[in-house]
C-alpha cells in the first residue's frame, strides 16, 4: 500500500510513483497474462460454445440456440445424479481422510522407535500415481475372488462381495480416502509440531483433562491447518477423474459418475460440444458459489496468519 501515503504528493512525485508502480508490477505480468490466456480465455470460449447446438458427429449442425443447452442440463437426470455424486465423493473423501489424518498425526506426534520410517510409510499412498492406486484397489484389493479385502473380511461373512460392482461409491471413496489421508496427516502433523509447548504445560498445571486439552487447546490451534487441508483437498478431489475412469468407468450405468467423468463422456464419447460446454459452465458457476463462501472464510484466517509471519 505504498501509494496511500498521507498528504497529496506533488504532480511530478506522483508520476514518478506511477512509473515505479509499473516497475513493481512488471515481474507479475508474465504469470498473470499466461494464466489469463490459458485458463480464462478458454472458459469464455466455453460460454460461447454453450449457446450453440454443435455435435461433432453431425457436421454442419452448428447453430446458435441460446439458453436451450442450459435448460437441457437442468432436466438431465444423469447430470443431476453426477452432481450429487460429486458432492458426495468430495464431502466423504475430505471429511474421512481429514478425520483419519488427524488420528494418524496425533499418533506420530511423539517420539518412538522408527518414527521416521512410519511417517515415510504413511505418506506413500499420496505419492503413488493415482491411476495405479485406482487399479490396485480395483484388482488386488476389491476383486471378489482373489482380492485382499475379501480375504480379510471372509471371517465376517463378507468374503464374496463384489465391492466395485455392488458398492461402486464406497469403493471409489475408499481408494480416494487412502490417497488423500497422508496429505491431511502431513498438514495436521505440521500444525501439531508448531504448537507451543508452554500452552500445553499451562493446561497441565491447571489440571485440565486430556480431552479438555484436545478440544480446548489443540483443536483451535489446528483449525488453520485443518481449514487449509479441507480447502486444498476439496479443490483437487472435486476434479477427480482418474479414480473413476480406472475403477468403474462411472458404472454400473452412471451410478458412480461424477461431473468431470460425465462431462468427459458427453464430450469425448458423445462429441456433444454445445451440451458439455453448458455443463461445464454450470459446474463453474456452482463451484464459484461454494468456493467463494468457503474461500472467504479460510482466506481471511490464512492471510492474516501469513502476514503475521512476515
Amino acid at each position: 500500500m505504498s501509494a496511500a501515503t498521507g498528504t497529496a504528493p506533488a504532480p511530478r512525485a506522483r508520476a514518478a510513483e506511477r512509473a515505479q508502480g509499473w516497475a513493481l508490477r512488471a515481474p507479475l505480468l508474465p504469470a498473470l497474462v499466461f494464466t489469463v490466456v490459458v485458463t480464462q480465455l478458454p472458459f469464455l470460449v466455453t460460454v460461447f460454445y454453450s449457446l450453440q447446438s454443435w455435435n461433432l458427429l453431425r457436421p454442419g449442425s452448428r447453430t446458435f440456440v441460446g439458453p436451450a443447452n442450459y435448460l437441457a442440463v437442468f432436466t438431465d437426470a444423469q447430470f443431476l445424479g453426477a452432481a450429487s455424486n460429486t458432492v458426495l465423493f468430495t464431502a466423504a473423501c475430505v471429511l474421512v481422510s481429514m478425520a483419519l489424518g488427524v488420528g494418524l498425526a496425533m499418533l506420530l506426534d511423539r517420539r518412538f522407535p522408527g518414527r521416521g520410517v512410519v511417517r515415510t510409510l504413511l505418506i506413500t499412498p499420496f505419492l503413488i500415481i493415482p491411476v495405479a492406486t485406482a487399479l490396485l484397489w480395483k484388482t488386488t484389493m476389491f476383486d471378489p475372488v482373489f482380492g485382499l479385502v475379501g480375504f480379510v473380511l471372509t471371517p465376517f461373512g463378507l468374503g464374496d462381495v463384489d465391492w466395485v460392482s455392488q458398492y461402486p461409491l464406497v469403493s471409489v471413496v475408499t481408494a480416494m480416502v487412502w490417497q488423500w489421508t497422508p496429505f491431511m496427516m502431513l498438514l495436521v502433523l505440521a500444525g501439531l509440531q508448531s504448537q507451543g509447548r508452554d500452552v500445553i504445560e499451562a493446561g497441565q498445571v491447571d489440571g485440565a483433562s486430556r480431552w479438555q486439552m484436545f478440544v480446548g487447546i489443540t483443536l483451535p490451534h489446528l483449525r488453520r491447518y485443518i481449514e487449509l487441508g479441507v480447502l486444498l483437498g476439496s479443490i483437487y478431489v472435486v476434479n477427480t477423474f482418474d479414480t473413476i475412469y480406472m475403477m468403474t468407468q462411472g458404472g454400473p450405468g452412471t451410478a458412480s459418475a461424477n461431473l468431470p467423468f460425465y462431462i468427459y463422456q458427453r464430450t469425448f464419447l458423445g462429441f456433444d460440444i454445445g451440451q458439455s460446454a453448458a455443463m461445464g459452465v454450470v459446474v463453474v458457476v456452482g463451484t464459484i458459489i461454494v468456493a467463494t463462501l468457503a474461500l472467504r472464510l479460510i482466506f481471511r484466517s490464512f492471510m492474516s496468519a501469513q502476514e503475521g509471519i512476515s
Partner: protein, 299 residues
C-alpha cells in the same frame, strides 16, 4: 490414548527448552509399558494402512500364477520377469514423455512464478490480495469446463498429441499454487537483505538470482516438488489430448484397465515403475513436501 502423545514430556525434547515439570502436575507416567503399547499400536495401524502399497510392491515380484490366488500368497519365489516385460514393452517412450512434461512445466512454473511471487511479496503491489485471490480462484475452475475449447484449439493448431500442449497446460495448472507457496517463502526473507542489495544498484534479476534464491532454495525446492507430483500424476488432460506420440505414464496404465485378473503381476510392476520416481523424491524430501503442502505456513 492419543492425547497422551501430546503431553508426553519427551515429545517436547527437540523443541524449545522447557522448564522442569512443575510439582503440581498430575502423575501421568504409566511407565514404559504404556509407551511401548502405543508404539506397537502406531506401527500396526501404519502397516495396515499402507498394506495395499506393500502388497502392490510384493505382487510386482510375483509370477502371474502367484499373483491372483485364493488365498493370497505371501510367500513365493520372487522374480524380476514382470519388470523385464514392462520395460521391454513400449513403456520407455511414455516415461520419456512424463519426464519432459514434468520437468519442463516445473521449470516454466518457476520462471513465471518466482518473479510474480516476488512482486506480490517484497514490495506490496496495490491489490495484492485481489491478484492472489484471482490466482487461487483459477484452481477452482474445473478442468472439464475448459477442456472442450482446449481440445478444439489444439486440434486447429495441430497441437493434439504434442508434448508441448501438456507442458503449457501443466504450467497453468500448477502456477497458481506455486505463486502462493513462493510468495509465502519470499515473505520470510528479511527485507534488509533486499534493501542492501538494491542500494548497491543491483537490478531485479540480480537481486532475485544472487541474493534471494540462495535464501529461498528450500522453498523453491518445495514448490518444485509439489509441481512435479501433480504434473507426473496428471491424467485427465493427458488421456484426452494425447494419443500415441505424447502420451504419459498414467496413460500407459490405461492398458491394464481390462486385465481381468490375468496380468496382476505385470500391472503391479508397471504401477511400481510408474510411481517410483515420485515416491523416491517424496520420501527423500519429506520436509520440503510438508512445507510445500502447507504453502509455507509451516517452517
Amino acid at each position: 490414548m492419543t492425547a497422551e502423545a501430546l503431553v508426553k514430556p519427551d515429545a517436547a525434547a527437540p523443541r524449545a527448552t522447557r522448564a522442569p515439570a512443575p510439582p503440581t502436575a498430575r502423575p501421568r507416567r504409566r511407565g514404559a509399558v504404556g509407551a511401548a503399547a502405543l508404539t506397537t499400536a502406531t506401527w500396526a495401524i501404519a502397516l495396515v494402512f499402507v498394506s495395499p502399497a506393500l502388497w502392490l510392491a510384493l505382487t510386482a515380484f510375483k509370477q502371474e500364477g502367484d499373483a491372483a490366488t485364493d488365498p493370497p500368497k505371501l510367500f513365493f519365489e520372487p522374480t524380476l520377469d514382470q519388470f523385464r516385460t514392462v520395460l521391454a514393452s513400449d513403456f520407455l517412450p511414455y516415461l520419456g514423455n512424463s519426464l519432459t512434461a514434468t520437468l519442463l512445466s516445473t521449470l516454466l512454473v518457476l520462471l513465471l512464478g518466482v518473479p510474480a511471487a516476488y512482486a506480490l511479496s517484497i514490495r506490496p503491489v496495490r491489490r495484492t490480495q485481489d491478484v492472489l485471490f484471482f490466482f487461487i480462484s483459477t484452481k477452482m475452475l474445473p478442468v472439464v469446463a475448459v477442456v472442450v475449447p482446449l481440445y478444439v484449439a489444439a486440434a486447429r493448431l495441430s497441437m493434439l498429441d504434442n508434448i508441448w500442449t501438456l507442458v503449457v497446460l501443466y504450467t497453468a495448472m500448477n502456477l497458481p499454487i506455486a505463486v502462493w507457496m513462493l510468495r509465502s517463502f519470499f515473505l520470510e526473507v528479511p527485507r534488509s537483505i533486499i534493501e542492501a542489495a538494491s542500494m548497491e544498484g543491483a537490478g531485479l534479476p540480480r537481486v532475485l538470482w544472487s541474493v534471494m534464491l540462495p535464501v529461498m532454495a528450500p522453498g523453491v525446492a518445495a514448490t518444485a516438488l509439489i509441481c512435479m507430483i501433480f504434473s507426473w500424476n496428471e491424467f485427465f488432460l493427458a488421456v484426452n489430448l494425447t494419443a500415441s506420440q505424447a502420451a504419459t505414464v498414467p496413460v500407459f496404465m490405461v492398458g491394464f484397465i481390462t486385465s481381468e485378473g490375468l496380468f496382476w503381476a505385470q500391472l503391479a510392476a508397471a504401477a511400481t515403475l510408474a510411481s517410483l520416481p515420485i515416491v523416491v523424491i517424496g520420501w527423500t524430501a519429506q520436509r520440503q513436501l510438508v512445507r510445500g503442502l502447507s504453502m509455507g505456513a509451516v517452517k
